[in-house]
């Protein structure tokens, strides 16, 4: 049994973890209802709502630590709250307890997820580094600009990649098949991703979202990705006709579809069909969006927080029906 500063810190982590798990479970339960509302918001509001959704469990877990431990839990003005939400042993931690098993199990899980994602990110960056190295010599005399790289490749593709210094990449296979205006639209779209720091945001969002169950994570990442694409489309819409942007989008999809049947090593990404359909419709068909539900979001946040505070102690007692410290 530990009765020192380390015990205090381990208890804080235990409280944070229980707050996190309870709020994740609650939000994952209401996710099907939330998603029905989010899809009717504008791309910008969707992005904000999704950030709020993935950040809420972490905020709640930090709030739990603040509420459950001294000095707040000893404060007179917070006594009404600590009646429902309290931690029985803030200064003592038993390494043989179920707290310890859950806490170290969670740490191991986090280390595994971070290591797996870190390795994938390193592999991604290594390939990007090699790609830059190969294309420097390929295009040094002509089209390369600081944030724009032309790739000598038959497969039609255009993408933005890079976490710290993102660049947009367009293959010669795509350049040869589109008009000057269409290419300008494609490059403007990719530059919008650079301006909005989308590659970095997607990585951060994916890390925040990774605490949720896999089915929720998939939908969250896909929705976030779609919102960033729609915002990049909207940014290009300030300089070009939206019909031209939509036409370019359909043409690029058609070129990629045609090329996929011919080029075995085509460098492409696989999205669901609805993505392009939704992007085109969002561009050209006048949409009526719901406004960001600030009141509903704050109420849901407050409710989740209160239930999580109460559930930390309730869960503690429930587990101790089976396991003792």
């Amino acid at each position: 049994m530990l009765n020192n500063m380390l015990a205090m810190i381990l208890n804080q982590f235990s409280i944070a973890l229980m707050g996190l798990l309870v709020s994740l479970a609650l939000l994952a339960l209401v996710w099907p209802l939330i998603v029905r509302y989010i899809i009717h918001l504008s791309a910008r509001s969707q992005k904000n709502a999704l950030w709020l959704f993935v950040a809420t469990p972490l905020v709640i877990s930090i709030m739990c630590v603040l509420v459950f431990l001294p000095p707040l839990s000893h404060s007179e003005s917070w006594r009404w709250l600590t009646r429902y939400a309290h931690w029985h042993h803030p200064g003592a931690f038993d390494l043989d307890s179920w707290h310890s098993v859950i806490l170290f199990g969670f740490f191991l899980g986090v280390i595994y997820v971070l290591a797996r994602k870190g390795l994938l990110a390193i592999r991604h960056l290594n390939s990007l580094y090699s790609l830059n190295r190969l294309t420097k010599s390929a295009t040094k005399h002509s089209k390369t600009r600081q944030d724009f790289v032309v790739l000598d490749c038959e497969a039609p593709s255009a993408f933005t990649a890079g976490i710290i210094y993102p660049k947009c990449y367009v293959t010669t296979g795509l350049i040869e098949r589109v008009s000057k205006m269409e290419l300008d639209i494609i490059i403007a779209h990719e530059r919008a991703h650079i301006k909005h720091k989308d590659t970095r945001n997607r990585l951060l969002f994916a890390l925040f979202a990774s605490f949720y169950p896999r089915s929720v994570v998939r939908r969250l990442n896909r929705m976030f990705s779609l919102a960033t694409e729609q915002l990049a489309d909207a940014h290009v819409g300030k300089s070009y006709c939206v019909c031209d942007i939509a036409q370019t989008l359909v043409k690029a999809a058609r070129i990629q579809r045609f090329s996929a049947e011919r080029v075995a090593h085509a460098g492409m990404n696989y999205f669901i069909g609805a993505e392009i359909d939704l992007r085109v419709r969002a561009l050209i068909v006048p949409q009526v969006y719901r406004s960001f539900p600030l009141g509903t979001s704050l109420t849901l946040l407050a409710l989740t927080m209160i239930v999580s505070f109460a559930a930390v102690d309730g869960l503690h007692h429930l587990i101790e029906v089976v396991f003792s410290h």
Partner: protein, 131 residues
């Protein structure tokens, strides 16, 4: 896959030469910049292990040949870069202009084109009315 500067130069040389051994690569690449035969041999070995070269023993030495062409290697690297970070379809580290859509058929693309055309007409009618 990561390619060093020397690996890139060796590959570029091999994309133009038919089949060469380490001595020939050393002779061609180190005239200006220097470097030992051992460095070239280990670079060729690394590229072979990465699956970018094939080799055959001729006497005491290996003769190397490029296994993948430049364009094919670039396509492979694009695939690595744009490959999903988390899972199929999530694509979080790359923002692509347009992605190949598994469920999108030619008819659906044609429908979208028709919709765009209708919107163009509506907008041009609106402009005419405004004038």
């Amino acid at each position: 896959m990561i390619l060093g500067e020397l690996e890139k130069r060796v590959l570029q040389y091999l994309w133009e030469a038919p089949e060469v051994d380490a001595k020939q690569v050393h002779g061609a690449l180190t005239k200006r910049r220097g470097g030992s035969l051992n460095t070239i041999q280990s670079t060729l070995d690394r590229l072979f292990k990465k699956g970018l070269l094939t080799r055959q023993k001729r006497g005491h030495a290996y003769c190397y040949r490029a296994k993948v062409g430049k364009e094919e290697l670039i396509a492979q690297l694009i695939q690595d870069v744009t490959g999903d970070f988390i899972g199929k379809g999530e694509d979080s580290l790359v923002a692509a202009f347009s992605s190949f859509s598994v469920g999108l058929h030619d008819e659906q693309l044609a429908q979208l084109e028709k919709l765009i055309q209708q919107q163009r007409q509506l907008r041009s009618q609106g402009d005419d009315d405004a004038e």
